[in-house]
Amino acid sequence: MINFSFQKPTSITDAVTALSKSEDGLFLAGGQTLIPVLKQRLAMPCDIIDLGDINDLKGIVAKKHSVLIGATTTHSEVEASPVVREHIPALAELAGHIGDPHVRNLGTLGGSLANNDPSADYPAAVLGLGATIHTNQRSISSDEFFVGLFQTALDPGEMIVRVEFPIPEKSGYAKFPNPASRYAIVGVFVSSFSGSVRVSVTGAESCVFRQVSFEEALAEHFAIDALTDFAVPSDRFNSDLHASAEYRAQLVRVMACRAIIMIDEEKKQ
């Protein structure tokens, strides 16, 4: 790690101003990606602006049709939140299986989304639920937010403030974790809103995406047998040390089915 100046503002305005004044500054949320990158000397910002003391970025609130989660809410807070558990249990489940307890106690929703790691869990939930990302400047729909590998629609200096998750009729998330990192080799989020279905996939490509063919099939018949005969094309899929594209394609179908099974099991309870 190299030396940098460290600031911990208490308001969004102060944080944004601090960043704009810095030649080469970065926001720090939970630090679960940024700190290792700094330690490996792969990033050498001159200023780090810690968002941890900004109250406006915190908290979980339920509205009539949505749940609002502040950007610096940690994964373990989402996992434990009675509000999230009541309205979108699949989201709490997802948060509870990110990384390990250390990561979940520090890592944040906003940090994960702004980083947009191709194997991260949260992008699947945001895209799979059709959430809206509220920044200090505007509101961005999830369909527009995730642009590419580690790329988002955020402009330089733009900060995620909170994320608004519409409450679905039902939703489920299943992932096949990388045995080393616990990131998703493939993770699939399925949600259903009065007839319309969203299916998002993380881990398989360079960026989270919607599996439209599954959405259409499930809109007609919301059950795993709707997906039985689907061959998922793998030509755009990642192939690496941990999984080939062909294997990932298999996992996309299987994880989609398991997300649906999770929904079914939840309904029985």
């Binding site: 096949f176 045995p179 080393a180 990192s181 040390l241 941990h242 062909e246 294997y247 298999q250």
Partner: protein, 776 residues
Amino acid sequence: MKALGSIGKSIKRSEDKRFLTGQGKYVDDINLPNQVYAAFLRSPYAHAIINRIDTSGALGSPGVSLVVTGTDWLKENYGPLPCTSRINTFVGGEKMKVPPRHCLAIDRVRFVGEIVAMVVAETKPSALHAVELIEVDYEELEVVTDPEEALKPGAPQIWDDIPNNLCLDFELGDRIKTAAAFDSAHYIISRKIKNNRVAGVPIEPRGAIANYDDDTKRLTLFNSSQNIHENRDAYAIDVLKIEKEKLHHVAPDIGGGFGVKNGTYPEPPLILHAAKKLCRPVKWVADRSESFLSDTQGRGQVSTVSLALTKEGKFLGLRVETVGNLGAYCGTIGPFTPTAGTARTQGGPYGFASIYYYAKVVFTNTAIMAPYRGAGRPEAAFQLERIIEETARELDFDPIELRKKNLIQAKTLPLRTAMGLDIDSGNFVEVFDQALSLTDRTGFSARASAATRRGKLYGFAIAPYLECTGGGSKEFAGITVRDDNKIELSVGSHSTGTGHETSFAQLLSGYLGIGVDSIVFFQGDTDRTPFGGGHGGSRGMEVGGSAVYEAASTFIKKGRLLAAYILGVENSRLQFSNGVFFVSGTDKSVTSEDLIAQSAGSEVINGEFGYGYLNVSATFEREIMSIPNGCHACEVEVDPETGGINIVNYWAVDDFGTIVNGMLTDGQVMGAVAQGIGQALMEESVYADSGQLMTGSLIDYALPRAFDVPNIRIQYYEEAPTKKNPLGVKGAGEAGCVAAPHVVFNAIADALRNFNIESLDMPLTSEKIWRTIHRR
């Protein structure tokens, strides 16, 4: 000498409170006044000529006090790190080819991570920054990472004077007799069996602080080492060319070793040099990435294994030909593992009239290989139990019956195996039967059907194992009576988290009949322990514990004379039992604790017997290794849709002779089984063809987590203590690593009995399993 009740009890570890509350003292917790920091420039290429190194940028960088390259190093006339493998002669009589392993690359780099330069600076960041300013002109050479490829004609030559990259070949056993056995066999089954290359990954990375005292001209090295005496000799005598007394080697608390911290490394001599040069303490602690690149790694063998048997399934002969990967240099005892290390226990607990083992040990452009928990015995057991399982499968033998009918019978002991191991004790059939009865075979079909209903495949495997333990043969133990009436017990070996502080104190407490609280344990300092054999080969209790026994015996012998003096009786009338010296039928008695208390303060006693009369220095030296053995079994569930594996049940029956502390022994079994499961299912150190390490962090190198490891049901067979040491113990530390990989593999093979598993090798990742099931 009879032990008191505390031996055998599961006493809780006295060191745990310290470790669990952050009070442990590891190398990184030590900081010396005025210390500076070393950082290393490591090669980004697996094989390249160094044309030029420009260190001017680094030297001019703020805070930098020293930059050292290979050229500088040679000017100091330092020697290379030695290879001390006692297996060092080709089958044809030629000497092993040991290339010089200097602490810095001289004019050529041979693996990614090899040290090219050292920078010493006021702070760690300034040292790291300066490292980035060193410019090196590399000329890339062709790379070979696979040992079989490295042997082929035309392969890249890693050392100009070592043809075909062949360091050594080796044989053990009777080649002609084995050939005859194969000629007479009804069946011969052969398979190519790989043992995956793995990283040790101790939780505490390597690290050291060097200090130089200009008054005494003495160097001190605080080092995360599990073998301080041998390391000291190598660093002092071989590399720095100073007397060994001029290097004081200290190991504080050690956070795991597994073999990684047993051999020598370039960093300690480099920082010793810097400390001397700068007259300031120099500190270096590896980060995790540095550890993955530069720690020694283990296993990494490929073998052709052939089993000859009669029509009825009686084993006649075993032939194993191995190619072992050494990495780019000979590690401290690197050539040992794929040669004698893997040869000794060939044949396991089965009766083989003839076995022949042959190995080639080969250089590649990869990090250096060394013994890793088990050091050859896991490889041998895996080869054997895989070929037996494949034989049963191919010839339709019942795998349980095939094993049982070939086990060595207890009544034939003692015996010497075809590989020359002396088995003095054990009952392999009984241990096998005990394990089998633990596994509830009658309930298997119900468990399997339940899994089938859930859409899963279910498999079972059971296999015995046999290994040999003892490591370095000689160990020191000392007792010092302190003024505060406590006694200090010191042992020359070192705990790497293995609980010596508890178990050795427990032993001494049992022998002398004094409270565990009265014993202060001390280890890890060459000034206070005259010699020691390090921590390897499961020798902690077997050799170290036996040295404690010898120290206790001497203490009691001396104590008897003192007791006779105090009680005013003939020493021949005294008996010792339960911590009390007494004259039978009288009220004359004195306890060990009284003796200690009285001798500490008494001028009369000091005058009569000499100061420190009760202090003891003892040595134990074993003659032959002990033979732990056991039988492990497991059941697995395979998810055919994902290839995911769940180990549902795991059972272990182990014969470690006498058990001193069952809870600590359980910990050893669990930890080693976890590592065995890791090797079987997920661990592999992968090098790309370019020689780049693909698994250079915990993001990519998979270690088993708590939920990957099942509840392990452990039982000990204590009816067969060994006579090879006074405690009757057989080493326990590595057995789980020897026993687990093949049991897990074979259970998966059983679950996949309807599929072709011929190309399956460890680690059995989910994708490999899925491809097997779906024939892709």
